[in-house]
């Protein structure tokens, strides 16, 4: 119980890692855009420097706020972020970038409400879950958290911003886990999703290769379904869990097959599978992926050297300063540089989770887990996209991608993680 009162020191490793990544980000943004002599991308790195400075201030600010105030203000902040989201949709997006209603002008700043919604939801969920743990066996405990998630989820989907919507769900999962769920419970929740993947993968492969699998398309999902049933039986799941899980799995698998078979048009299927075989549409949906893979691959082991990347320098990479910044890194610094950055990210995530290892405060625990989940998900998905492992969804890479709102959000998350270390946990 003595660690309860001990004033903890700041986690310098976490802070330095974050700082290093931000600095790398500035250099990469410069490298990605310096070639432009005119247009909106000129001098964008200066802007990024400003954002990073602002991010550091935010980190300091958040560290200095006692966690209990954060906890107290959680619902207010959540409400505020929802207001921003509604505003973005209501103003019909004053500023329309890429046709999506993602921006809101406030005090001359162009901000992305969906970024702040991540923080708002994180705090609200943490607050709620710290007070009332959820349990699969008492469904009423799930009502409030699910509503908390669904409101911003729906608003973000309307934008439409699938990536952020996914972030909300992914962030919630480990937080639920922390809030009294067991690993098995998490598996029950996730199983329909796995069903969806397993039933879709044979379809995607068959479409992509042009060879129909026939009855065997059902094999991967069938095996998984048997595993689910066996687990339910072994762990003596209550009847409603049995019904829920089995129904959920069958439904998602069926819907997937039906939607793929009769709803989606060929061009839509093509778009979905283009990440698997970008060459099928080299100038359309596959273009970014091809160029990104070429950029990263051509970096080889040591890279082409800073500012020497032809793919990025010659504008072959679209959105190279935002969502595809990792390919700039890959091209110019090669496997060495990429591994180093992935290592830094890993340190960051592990340190984030490490907070929960020693911290006893439920709220802080949940905030730390949620923050880490947001960062980790962004990092993994973004890099996986640039490597051509996933369909393009449009998530920026924390610390490295250019962008004000996102940098600020990341700063808030880092601040919250650091705050957990220094703050007085007794509240």
């Amino acid at each position: 119980m003595d660690d309860l009162r001990r004033k903890r020191s700041l986690d310098f490793l976490l802070l330095l890692t974050a700082l290093a990544l931000w600095v790398i980000g500035i250099f990469l943004v410069y490298s990605a855009t310096y070639i432009h002599e005119s247009g909106p991308l000129v001098g964008i790195y200066k802007q990024q420097i400003l954002w990073v400075v602002m991010a550091l201030l935010i980190v300091v600010l958040i560290i200095s706020i006692p966690a209990r105030y954060v906890s107290a203000a959680a619902y207010v902040l959540y409400g505020l972020s929802l207001v921003l989201l509604v505003l973005a949709i209501a103003t019909g997006s004053g500023v329309s970038a890429k046709g999506a209603e993602r921006w809101v002008m406030i005090g001359g700043f162009k901000i992305q409400p969906s970024e702040f919604a991540k923080v708002g939801l994180l705090l609200a969920l943490a607050k709620r879950l710290s007070e009332k743990p959820v349990s699969l066996y008492n469904l009423t405990t799930l009502i409030v958290p699910v509503i908390l998630i669904l409101v911003p989820f729906a608003l973000v989907l309307k934008q439409p911003d699938l990536g952020t919507a996914m972030v909300f769900c992914v962030m919630a999962l480990p937080m639920f886990y922390w809030s009294k769920l067991t690993l098995l419970d998490v598996f029950y929740i996730v199983s329909p999703l796995i069903s969806l993947l397993l039933s879709a993968v044979p379809l995607l492969l068959a479409f992509n290769t042009g060879v129909s699998w026939g009855v065997f398309e059902a094999v991967p999902w069938g095996l998984f379904f048997i595993v689910v049933v066996v687990l339910l039986y072994i762990f003596r799941a209550p009847l409603f869990i049995w019904i829920g899980v089995i129904a959920g799995n069958i439904m998602t698998a069926t819907i997937t097959t039906v939607v793929w078979g009769s709803v989606l048009k060929d061009y839509q299927k093509m778009r979905i599978t283009s990440f698997m075989n970008p060459q099928s549409d080299p100038f359309g949906s596959g273009y970014q992926v091809i160029q990104s893979k070429v950029a990263i691959g051509s970096g080889h082991i040591f890279g082409k050297g800073y500012l020497q990347g032809t793919q990025s320098r010659l504008s072959f990479l679209p959105e190279q300063h935002t969502d595809f910044i990792f390919s700039v890194l890959g091209e110019q610094f090669g496997l060495i540089g990429c591994s180093a950055v992935v290592l830094l990210f890993t340190i960051l995530i592990v340190r984030g989770i490490w907070v929960t290892y020693n911290c006893r405060n439920r709220f802080i625990n949940l905030v730390a887990v949620g923050s880490t989940a947001i960062l980790g998900f962004h990092i993994f998905v973004n890099i996986a996209i640039t490597l051509g492992m996933m369909p393009v969804t449009g998530l920026p890479l924390p610390f490295l991608s250019y962008g004000g709102s996102f940098t600020v959000t990341v700063a808030i998350l880092v601040g919250l993680l650091l705050n957990a270390r220094v703050t007085d946990q007794d509240f």
Binding site: L4, I35, S38, G39, S130, P174, Y177, W178, L183, F283, Q291, K293, V294, A295, I296, G297, S298, G299, H300, I301, T310, Q311, R313, L314, S315, F316, G330, E331, G334, L335, C338, S339, V342, F345, T346, I349, V350, I353, W354, T356, Y357, C359, R360, N361, R362, F363, N365, V369, T372, G376, F380, I383, A384, L387, G388, M389, Q425, D426, F427
Partner: protein
């Protein structure tokens, strides 16, 4: 509120969960690392290759084509830089947007440069060769080029290419000698593609452009350009060695463009024909003119203009592309009489004062055939050789021809380089046809016509053969020179772009003239007599210079009007210039063709350095410049005028009126 409520109660469970989540995260990162390794190490080669291809474009650098200059250094053909706007379909992202952007471009006068319908078609066609540049606008003015260059960000896939275009400052005047440029014909592309030619390249298609194509073209260089995703070139790739282009060499010709212009001015515009002037001392061709002509500049304009004008030119019934100086074959008519004469003189059959047994009474009876002289009864009467040439008496030469026979005349014709290609450095030269027993029987075997003795009479007065103006100029030059005939040449020197001599085209002896001095002297005297007042060629005279010449009015089956022929050589005893003029269906040689030669000779002796020094030699006392041609010439004295009038009358129909069978003509 109890603190415990807010704290995680079960530290073991919490820490286990931390480990689980931490491990999941590490696993995810490990997956990323494995994929990175796969992409950057195992599959790197492919990516490196694509990356290089992405960013580089091989650029063929066509060196500027060599110039063609005349003997005084005037540029007859040169290259100027020009810009083309091309599309590279590979880097074209948003076709509609690019098209609409291009359509917004306006030139200085505010006219739209591109129209969307054509662009759509061009883009579609270009799409078949995705990685090649396709021209969408050629020869674009520099201000439009700069607009396009400035907006390259909005025009991905649109590239400006620099190229050089051929320019002919003197246009139609020297067209047939210089030639023109055109796209490689499909039939030749297969062999030329191995010699650095690319589809759509321009090459010399006629004239000197064609003959010296390989000299002037140079060799293509290659460089690798770094291009960005918009297709804009950012300079050369430094680590790949570029192959420098080898510049084409300049061709210095023997032509004198000013003389050429004088001829063009003097030549009747509406008539077809040719003029050749050359230097008998070395074969230098000074003038090579053919009418009608074409402005070769149209062939290097943009393809739309080119195809339009090309169609018009190709369909022209006057065949303006035909170089009549070397490929137009005409019956030489009376100009051939001097050759018959020199044959007779050298064979000892006639002398200067020889008269023919049968005096000219306006006609000559041979067997059942009555061959007429152009002067109706009472005819020329009994004349000596000089007068026979001067007045161009047919009857005299009928009898001379009969005595000589076709073989002997043709032996001398060959010696004076008639009846075979001269070897001038131009494509498409014709050999002509000398006739004679053997050749005639062969030629008309299908019509079953047989050579008869009577045809020798036609042969002797030049109504059997067909010859090119160039051959006639060589012949008359050879008679003046008396020793040898040089192969005619247009190229004298080849110099590289720095002006350093690379190759010198030395005079080559073509025929040795083995004719006795007496025959030469008499021939020259006869030639001079023609140009003297009272001779049929008086209009070609140059005061102070002994000009020799011979008129001809060659009858031909195509028209009632005879071809006007005239050959001249000056000064007749030591010539520096020989001229042949042929004008189709124009009438008498003395009235129509001789003035053209006269204008040229007067210009030559009064304006050119060469001519002036020769004039000085012949008129050592005269300090003043030789008099200007024609206009300044003093009116002929009354006696001269009368004589000239008589000569003109003779000139109108000096040939045999019944040419049978019709003299074969090439064109």
């Amino acid at each position: 509120m109890a603190i415990g409520k807010r704290l995680q109660d079960e530290p073991h469970e919490r820490r286990a969960k931390s480990l689980v989540v931490g491990m999941v995260c590490c696993l995810a990162m490990a997956v990323l690392l494995v994929n990175l390794y796969r992409l950057q190490v195992i599959e790197a080669e492919e990516s490196i290759r694509i990356s290089n291809e992405n960013s580089m474009r091989e650029q063929v650098v066509l060196p500027p084509r060599g110039r063609i200059l005349d003997r005084n250094g005037n540029e007859l053909a040169r290259s100027r830089p020009a810009y083309s706007i091309c599309v590279l379909p590979y880097s074209l992202r948003n076709r509609e947007k690019v098209i609409s952007s291009l359509c917004k471009i306006r030139d200085i006068e505010g006219n739209v440069v591109f129209d969307s319908v054509t662009l759509v078609q061009q883009f579609r066609r270009a799409n078949t060769r995705k990685f090649d540049l396709t021209r969408i606008k050629e020869d674009v003015p520099i201000d439009i080029v700069s607009i396009v260059e400035e907006h390259y960000m909005e025009l991905p896939g649109i590239v400006v290419e620099t190229e050089s275009r051929r320019e002919y400052p003197y246009g139609a005047a020297a067209f047939h000698a210089v030639g023109y440029m055109g796209e490689i014909p499909e039939s030749e592309f297969d062999t030329l593609r191995n010699q650095d030619y690319y589809w759509g390249d321009l090459m010399g298609r006629a004239g000197l452009e064609r003959t010296y194509e390989s000299v002037m073209r140079g060799r293509c260089g290659r460089e690798y350009l770094e291009v960005n995703a918009y297709g804009k070139s950012l300079g050369t790739v430094s680590n790949i060695k570029k192959v420098d282009p080898v510049y084409g060499n300049d061709i210095y010709t023997t032509l004198d463009i000013n003389m050429q212009l004088v001829v063009k001015k003097a030549f009747p515009d509406s008539l077809k024909g040719a003029v050749v002037a050359l230097d008998p001392r070395n074969g230098d061709v000074l003038v090579l003119f053919s009418n009608p002509s074409v402005d070769p500049n149209i062939f290097s304009s943009s393809p739309s203009v080119r195809s339009k004008t090309w169609a018009a030119v190709a369909a022209d019934r006057n065949l303006p592309l035909n170089n009549r100086a070397i490929a137009g074959v005409y019956p030489p008519g009376s100009t051939f009489k001097v050759l018959s004469g020199i044959t007779g003189l050298d064979a000892g059959i006639i002398t200067k004062d020889s008269r023919m047994p049968s005096a000219c009474g306006g006609s000559f009876r041979f067997g059942s055939r009555i061959a007429k002289c152009h002067k109706p009864a009472p005819g020329h009467g009994s004349t000596n050789y000089i007068s026979a040439v001067q007045y161009s008496c047919n009857v005299y030469f009928y009898q001379l021809g009969l005595r000589l026979g076709d073989a002997r005349i043709n032996k001398y014709a060959n010696m004076f380089s008639l009846g075979s290609v001269t070897g001038i450095d131009l494509p498409g030269e014709k050999a002509g046809y000398l006739s004679g027993e053997k050749a005639y029987n062969e030629r008309f075997a299908s019509r079953n016509w047989k050579w008869t003795q009577g045809l020798v009479m036609d042969l002797a007065i030049g109504q059997q053969q067909v010859l090119t103006p160039l051959q006639l100029a060589l012949m008359v030059g050879g008679m003046g020179n008396g020793k040898r005939i040089y192969r005619p040449r247009l190229m004298s020197e080849e110099r590289n772009k720095d002006g350093i001599l690379v190759y010198q085209n030395l005079p080559v002896e073509k025929n040795k003239i083995q004719v006795g001095q007496y025959a030469l002297d008499v021939t020259r005297e006869a030639l001079a007599a023609v140009v003297k007042p009272g001779g049929t060629g008086w209009r070609a005279g140059v005061p102070g210079i002994p000009v020799g010449g011979k008129t001809g009015s060659a009858q031909n089956p195509h028209s009632d009007l005879s071809h006007a022929m005239f050959i001249a050589v000056a000064p007749v005893d030591d010539p520096v210039i020989a001229v042949a003029v042929a004008i189709e269906n124009a009438g008498g040689g003395g009235a129509v063709a001789a003035p053209v030669a006269g204008t040229l000779l007067n210009y030559f002796f009064s304006e050119t350095e060469e001519g002036k020094s020769v004039y000085k030699k012949y008129n050592p006392d005269s300090d003043q410049r030789p008099r200007r041609p024609q206009t300044q010439r003093p009116a002929p004295s009354p006696t001269e005028s009368a004589a000239n009038a008589a000569a003109d009358a003779a000139d109108r129909s000096e040939s045999a009126p019944t040419p049978r069978p019709p003299a074969p003509e090439g064109e």
